[in-house]
Structures are given as C-alpha cells and as structure tokens.
C-alpha cells in the first residue's frame, strides 16, 4: 500500500506545476479579454479622438495626420498598460509603473503632436460672422446667428426644462407616494404606459397644437413639450425615492406639530436631494442634446439651439472648413461628456419601479 502511494504521488500531486499552469491559463484568458475589448472599442474611440485632434490641429480639411501620430503613442501605451496589469501582482510596483507610463505617454504626445496644435479653429467663438465670411455672399442660409446666441438658447432651454421637470416631478412623486386617493392605481398604471409610450409618434399633432396655440417657433413651446415628455419617467423616479424615505420621519415631524406641507418641505425634501439632483441632471442633458423637436418646432434663426447651429454649420460650411466644424462639435459635446462623467454616480441611482429580476 505504502509503496504504491509513494510510487504514484510524484506524478499526480505536483501542486507547484498545477498552480503555475492554472496561473498561466488565467493570465492568458485575461490578456485575451483585454485584447478583444480593446479592438472592439476602437471603432468608437478612434472617431472621437479624430474629432478632438482635428479641432485642435486641423488646418485645411480634416487631415488624419495628427490622429495617426496620437494613436501611434496611445495604442502601445494601452498595450503596455494591460500587460502591466496582467503581469504585475504587486500593487505598489504596479502603481509606480503606471505613473511612469503616463508621464512617458504625455511627453511623447507633446513632442509628436505639440508643434501642430493651434487655436485657429476656435475663431467661431469670437467672430460672430464667421459663417457668412466662409460662405461668401452666395450662401443659401443668409445670415447666421452668433454661436453665443445658440449657446444661450440651448442653455436657457436646458435649464428651464431642468427646473420645471424637477419641480413638477417632485410634487407629483410625493403625492403619489404618500397620499391615497380614488383612482391612484389607475393613475400610476396610466403613467407607466405613458412612460413606455413613444412620444415621438405624436410629433405631428404636437406641431399642430403649438401652431394653434401660437407657441410654434418659440422656445417656450419646445420647453413645455420636452418637459411633458420627460415627466412620466421623472415622476416614477421621484416616487421611488420618496417611497424609500421611512414614514416615521414624517410622522414624528407631524406629532411635533408640523403641518403636512411643512413636513414635506422641511423634513422629507432634504431626504430626496440625490433623487432631485439625478432627475435634474438627466433633464438638463436631454434638453441640451434635443434635436428632433427643436428642428421641427423652431424655425427662426434667432431661436436656434446648439444642435441646430452645428447641423446647419456642418451642412453649409463643411466643404470649406472641416476643422472649424469639428471645433464646434467639441464645443457642443464637451459639456455633455463632463456632466455625464461627473454625475454618473447619481444617474445610476435612478431606477424605475423595480424591474423584476
């Protein structure tokens, strides 16, 4: 018995080798995953990178020269980074390597692309007549508004919309969460259908309604429409946040002599600040990006928002100056990306009536 065990042991229980093999296998799998994801993400990353490089460096046409140089630095850097992550187990050494890598990448970028960067493409910011100058007198569109008019319109639309959506959905969400009334079930069910219901299909009657009321071609009209379309979702999100606030808080406030409205304003409202923030940011972004409704409901050039400004600029000036159009694009897209990244924490907290799992 003993002899047999001793004889078979060396072959079957070489734990060291088994562990090494499984480590290798895990590392190969991880490396493979990184490679697949990196390659799969290129079609998204490269065009965006292109937009940014052209906006900062393009002179005539949308040259890809700087893009390739940037990629020639960034891709190897990413590759080295993933090798580091897979290959180094020690945390501190990994951190040091990463910092060195970042510094080297930046220096390489500065040396390779630095001489080509310039701010000339951003002249639309201080030259209000830029479009007409570029097109000459032959342009079909006539005079363009200044980019700041469009920027102001977009900001006005987004902010007013944000305030209205946050206020109205907070009020309604609170009432639906805390008050019982006849038809509450029906109201909630109806709201749920409206949430899933595609509002885009109603664009013709909405256009006609605004025309009849006299709000066509006004920012007020567009704001009201976009607010209404945002509401079902926002009300549900707010109701969810109110549902999560314990009843006892209100109860004790009211036994202490607060009225229902005081309890709402002073006690419950501070508890749902995160929810209001999430709804507000989401509404702002929706207002900032809006295109279909502003395109359909706004006609005058002085009413243009950033989306319309960029659209017509790209349609009219494209052949003349790609680099400036991409600078406008960057100018328009940056606030969105920054806001999304900053508020991601809040945005992900929005859930809707608990999807069954």
């Amino acid at each position: 018995m003993d002899v047999a065990l001793a004889a078979s042991a060396p072959e079957t229980t070489d734990w060291e080798r088994l562990a090494a093999r499984s480590r290798l296998r895990r590392r190969t799998t991880t490396a493979l995953l990184y490679t697949v994801l990196l390659l799969g993400s290129l079609p998204i990353v490269v065009p965006y990178l292109w937009l940014f490089t052209v906006a900062l460096s393009g002179r005539v046409g949308a040259s890809t020269f700087v893009l390739w140089r940037t990629l020639a630095v960034l891709l190897p850097a990413l590759l080295i980074w993933s090798i580091l992550r897979v290959g180094i187990d020690d945390r501190r050494r990994l951190r040091v390597c990463e910092i060195v890598l970042v510094i080297v990448t930046f220096v390489a970028l500065a040396v390779l692309t630095g001489p080509y960067l310039h701010t000339g493409n951003w002249r639309f910011l201080w030259n209000a007549n830029i479009a007409d100058q570029l097109k000459g007198a032959a342009g079909v569109g006539g005079t363009y508004p200044s980019v700041w008019t469009a920027f102001g319109n977009s900001l006005f639309l987004a902010i007013t919309q944000m305030v209205l959506v946050a206020a109205v959905s907070t009020l309604a969400g609170y009432y639906l969460s805390r008050f019982d009334f006849r038809g509450r079930g029906g109201y909630l069910k109806g709201l749920l259908v409206l949430h899933a219901f595609p509002a885009m299909t109603l664009i013709i009657p909405i256009f006609l309604l605004l025309h009849w009321v006299g709000l066509l071609d006004t920012l007020t009209g567009v704001i009201l429409v976009v607010v209404a379309l945002e509401l079902p979702f926002a009300i549900f999100v707010m109701k969810g946040f109110f549902d999560a606030v314990p009843w006892d808080i209100e109860m004790s406030a009211m036994t202490d002599g607060a009225s229902r409205r005081q309890a709402f304003l002073l006690v419950v409202l501070p508890q749902v600040k995160v929810g209001m923030l999430a709804v507000a940011v989401f509404a702002f972004l929706r207002g900032w990006e809006e295109y279909v409704f502003v395109r359909t409901l706004l006609l005058q050039k002085s009413n243009w928002t950033m989306s319309l400004y960029l659209f017509w600029m790209s349609a009219d000036v494209m052949g003349t100056d790609y680099a400036m159009v991409s600078a406008i694009g960057v100018f328009y897209v940056l606030p969105s990306i920054i806001l999304y990244t900053m508020c991601q924490k809040y945005l992900t907290q929005m859930t809707l009536g608990g999807i069954k799992g």
């Binding site: 995953l33 990184y34 697949v36 994801l37 993400s41 998204i44 990353v45 065009p47 965006y48 949308a62 040259s63 890809t64 109205v168 009020l171 309604a172 009432y175 008050f179 079930g185 069910k189 709201l191 749920l192 409206l194 219901f197 595609p198 885009m200 299909t201 109603l202 664009i203 013709i204 009657p205 256009f207 006609l208 309604l209 025309h211 607010v227 209404a228 379309l229 509401l231 009300i235 549902d243 009211m254 229902r260 990006e289 295109y291 279909v292 359909t296 950033m306 989306s307 960029l310 159009v325 694009g329 328009y332 897209v333 969105s336 809707l352 009536g353 608990g354 999807i355 069954k356 799992g357």
Partner: protein, 302 residues
C-alpha cells in the same frame, strides 16, 4: 385625527398633482385625440381643414405603393439592429466586462457609453465623416491601408451604415442592464460550477443566461419599441436616402407630413405607430413589479 376639510384635500391635490397632470394631458392625451381627428381630414401644407374624408386610410391600405417597401426596410432595420447589437453585442460586452476587474470593466463600459453621452448631431456628424466616400474618410483610409478599394457605404450599403450607427448606441442599453443583472447573480453558483468542472462557455450557457432571461426579454421588447419609433440618427445620417432605401416607417411618417406637407396622411400613418407603441407598452407592464408600485400609502393625514 380629524377628517380633513374637503377643500384642503382638493387644494393639496391640485397643488401637487395638478401641474404634472395638466402637462401630461396637454402633450399626450390631447395629441392622440387630435391625431385621430386629423387623420380623417384633408389637411395639407396650408394647415387648413376643408373637409372630412377616409381617403387617408384607403391610401394606407392599398393606395400607397411605397408603403410595403417602407415596411420591409423597417423590418430589416429593427431585426438586424436588435439582434446583432442591442441584444448580441450588448450581452457580449456585459459578459466580457464583468469578467474583468471592476475598474477595467468600468473603463470599457464608459467607452461604449460615449455615443449615448454625445448629442445626436455630433454623433451623426462623426459617422458621416468616418464613411465619407472620398479618401479622407477614416474607413477609406483604413481600407486603402490594407489594400482594398474605396467604399461608399452611404450610397451602396446604406442599410449597413444605419444599422451600425444605431447599433453602436443601442448596445450600451443592454450592456448596462445585463451588467447589473450579472452582478446580482450569487457568486457561489459560479464557484459550484467551476468545482464541477464547467468551462467558461458552459457557465455562461447554464448559469448566466438562465439567470438573466427576464432582463433579456425586457431589453428585447423595450429596444424593439425604441428602434421602431425613433428615426433621429437615420434622418441625420442618410436622411432616409438614397431615394427611400433607409426610410423606416417612423421617418416615412415624418417625411410625408413635414417634407411633403401631407399632414393628414402623416397623422393617419402615425396612428399605426401609436397602436403598436401602446400595445408594446402594455406588454412591458409585465416587467414591472406592480405590487410594490401600487402599494397603498400607510399614513393618511392632511
């Protein structure tokens, strides 16, 4: 506690629920009624109604020779985008990124959220530059680099372009939902499967997929509806062209009304979308936790 005065109750109701209800009625209920009404008129470019007619519906069911091909285009577009990107690629991204450490996975997910974060006009602009038919377009630069001839997706393969552009955005919705679903699967199931000798694919097939089947069908229906009614990116990138090759139903409705000034016919066509939308919205009900949603408030004091 005393019963609240009726006036007070009504004041509260109007104060809290009034503004929301008013807006919802104005821009959801009234437009549906208006749409039905307009569909039975002869409203044209001048926005005047001169008479009532059922001509629009006669045209919809038989008279309009372009409609069948528009339906076919819509079917191809929705099915391909949904199957390949919104479900397929979204699921793939969720599976791959959840297999990585949290931060690396989050990084890749953030990249795929980029199209969703950027305004539609910017995103569409990027696509039309990438596929620009001249040799400055990114795609063509890549093609020439590997020795292939120049391509002009916009005129030769417009459907592919439209599916790709919408799919790159659509994939992120499924990715987010599936990621949180996969995260909520208890870890011990994976350990148990590994101990039993299951490989990666077997684990996906027998543990992950069955655990997220609810989310799979939710995303399918939700995104089918979204794809069916939205035309924003198609409109921006190909404008439904060349000719009518990428004009999906929703865009057809829009073009008929706002390009050709046939508001009444557009309204009649839109009714079809309204019906489909309402039906799918009702199906989506099944996915919400109705009991929690409709739970009665426990305190009622005014």
């Amino acid at each position: 506690m005393t019963t609240a005065p009726r006036l007070r109750v009504w004041l509260d109701r109007i104060l809290f629920l009034g503004p929301g209800t008013l807006l919802l009625v104005m821009f959801f209920i009234v437009p549906v009624v208006v749409d039905v009404g307009i569909a039975f008129t002869d409203m044209g470019r001048d926005l005047q109604v001169t008479g009532f007619t059922t001509e629009n519906f006669r045209r919809m069911f038989g008279g309009d020779r372009r409609l069948p091909s528009v339906m076919l285009v819509t079917l191809i577009y929705v099915t391909c985008t949904l199957a390949i990107f919104n479900i397929g690629y979204g699921l793939l991204l969720a599976l791959l990124t959840t297999a990585l450490p949290d931060r690396a996975g989050g990084f890749f997910r953030a990249i795929w959220l980029l199209p969703r974060m950027s305004p539609s006009v910017v995103y569409a602009l990027l696509w039309s530059w990438v596929v620009a038919p001249t040799d400055f377009g990114l795609l063509n630069q890549a093609l020439t680099a590997v020795g292939l001839p120049l391509a002009d997706l916009k005129s030769n393969l417009p459907m592919l372009l439209v599916v790709l552009a919408n799919g790159f955005i659509g994939a992120s919705f499924g990715m987010i939902i599936f990621t949180s679903a996969i995260r909520s699967i208890p870890q011990h199931l994976f350990y148990a499967a590994q101990v039993d000798g299951a490989g990666g694919l077997a684990i996906v097939r027998h543990i992950t997929l069955p655990a997220i089947r609810w989310q799979l069908s939710f995303v399918t229906i939700y995104q089918a509806l979204a794809l069916l009614v939205s035309f924003e990116y198609i409109w921006l990138i190909t404008n439904g062209g060349p000719f009518f090759d990428t004009t999906v139903y929703a865009l057809y409705v829009y073009r008929r009304a706002f390009e050709n000034g046939q508001y009444a016919y557009g309204a009649a066509l839109a009714l079809g979308l309204v019906l489909v939308g309402a039906a799918l919205a009702l199906v989506l009900w099944r996915f919400f936790d109705m009991r929690a949603l409709l739970q009665k408030p426990r305190i009622e004091v005014s």
